[in-house]
């Protein structure tokens, strides 16, 4: 393994930890709003790290471009859908959890 491989392995594993955190938040957080926090933010960072980790290994610039395009699409879709679910839930009167 050359240094690049170590770097990309570290980034991929860190990314996976963020995905785990997002899933853990989805299971542990008390209501739909807090769960959305966990999913959008943790998954965004997790995917970002994985994209960088794979880009380190990429053989051509077009692969890097494709990876960035995927990240951007997930980012904008994730943020928009989180907003849609949150506003839908509020309009339907789903209560917020308070400590």
């Amino acid at each position: 393994m050359n240094p690049n491989d170590y770097l990309s392995a570290a980034l991929l594993i860190t990314g996976a930890v963020f995905f785990l955190a997002g899933t853990l938040g989805l299971l542990r957080f008390p209501d739909v709003y807090t769960r959305l926090h966990a999913l959008t933010k943790a998954d965004n960072v997790g995917l970002g790290l994985m994209v960088v980790g794979l880009a380190v290994q990429a053989e051509s610039w077009s692969v890097v471009g494709k990876l960035l395009l995927i990240w951007w699409l997930v980012l904008i879709a994730g943020a928009s859908v989180a907003h849609l679910i949150a506003s839908g839930a509020l309009q339907r009167g789903i209560r917020m959890w308070k400590p």
Partner: protein, 321 residues
């Protein structure tokens, strides 16, 4: 097969069976559809494990995405009040019919499945099927992706008939229902902007899938599904095409795929004496033309299926009521 991949495959297989069971047994129909979409996405993963990336693309876009959207739209029309007031649609009545002889289908199916499993396992462990024939003729087919070569050349008539099936399904839907072109749910500016922003990107991705299908996973069906998804997204955001576009232009776009296919079939029948047998030198170009027309028709047909009714009947029905 190493131990690790064996564990992964077994887990994936069990998850598929479990998700299918939950989608079919859970009392809430909304949850059932969500589980079905998750099932479709895991199916796409299974296709990748089976070295069928073309199928994986089609499954993720059509099997999970579009079918899920169709099911959700139908559920919302079935329970209009509940679906708008709560994410949770009330449990359907009589989820499992309490039949006095419910054990009968269970035992029969168990027996049939055991038989099927036995038959599957008794098949020879090594079989090339038609892959050697496909590989031998790949060079003259006009595409270096074997799946595209089969779809558009070796078994082109299958694809022709399939596009016609898609069109027939739409005609069936149109003859049963009229589309509600005025109803705009006004889901907000965020969804609206998302749809407007993504549509040009979807067009580029569809064109890419169309182009890449000649030598890598992709092709007319995947590209058409992406176009259809763009249409579904726009329709969800409340966008409706102008009525002027709904008459002749829509019809022309819907039939351009089957029409060009039929024209090419006739020409090859007249010139080569064999339907859809292309001259090897022009095969690549012919496949590209056929695929482009098919992509447009498939995409618009899928979006029109989501709209779920004949757009021209709209005004007539409104005058009656």
């Amino acid at each position: 097969m190493t131990l690790l991949t064996w564990i992964f495959d077994s887990l994936l297989g069990l998850s598929l069976l479990w998700l299918a069971w939950r989608a079919l047994a859970c009392p809430n129909l909304f949850k059932a559809i969500v589980l079905f979409v998750a099932f479709g996405l895991l199916m796409a993963l299974a296709w990748v494990r089976l070295a069928a990336p073309d199928v994986a693309l089609a499954e993720a876009a059509i099997g999970a995405g579009l079918t899920g959207a169709l099911l959700m739209a139908a559920l919302a029309k079935l329970h209009p009040t509940e679906a708008h007031n709560d994410f949770a649609v009330p449990p359907e009545k009589n989820v499992t019919k309490v039949w006095s002889w419910q054990w009968l289908p269970a035992i029969t199916i168990l027996l049939v499945t055991t038989g099927l499993g036995y038959v599957v396992l008794s098949l020879p462990p090594y079989a090339t099927g038609l892959s050697t024939e496909v590989a031998a003729n790949l060079e003259i087919s006009g595409a270096s992706n074997p799946v595209t070569a089969v779809l558009l050349n070796f078994r082109g008539y299958d694809t022709l008939l399939e596009i016609v099936v898609l069109l027939l399904a739409l005609l069936g839907v149109w003859s049963l229902n009229s589309a509600d072109l005025d109803h705009k749910a006004a889901p907000g500016i965020v969804l609206d902007t998302l749809a407007r922003l993504l549509t040009p990107i979807f067009i580029l991705v569809a064109a890419y899938l169309l182009w890449v299908g000649a030598h890598a996973p992709g092709g007319a069906f995947q590209a058409g599904a992406v176009l259809g998804a763009a249409g579904v997204l726009l329709l969800l955001a409340g966008w409706r095409p102008r009525t002027g576009l709904m008459a002749l232009p829509l019809r022309l776009v819907l039939v351009i795929g089957p029409a060009i296919f039929v024209i090419v079939a006739m020409l090859t029948l007249l010139i080569a004496g064999q339907m859809l047998e292309y001259p090897p030198t022009q095969a690549g170009a012919l496949i590209l033309i056929l695929e482009t027309a098919a992509t447009v028709s498939i995409g618009v047909t899928l979006a029109a299926l989501f709209l779920g009714g004949d757009p021209r009947k709209n005004n007539r029905n409104k005058n009656h009521t």
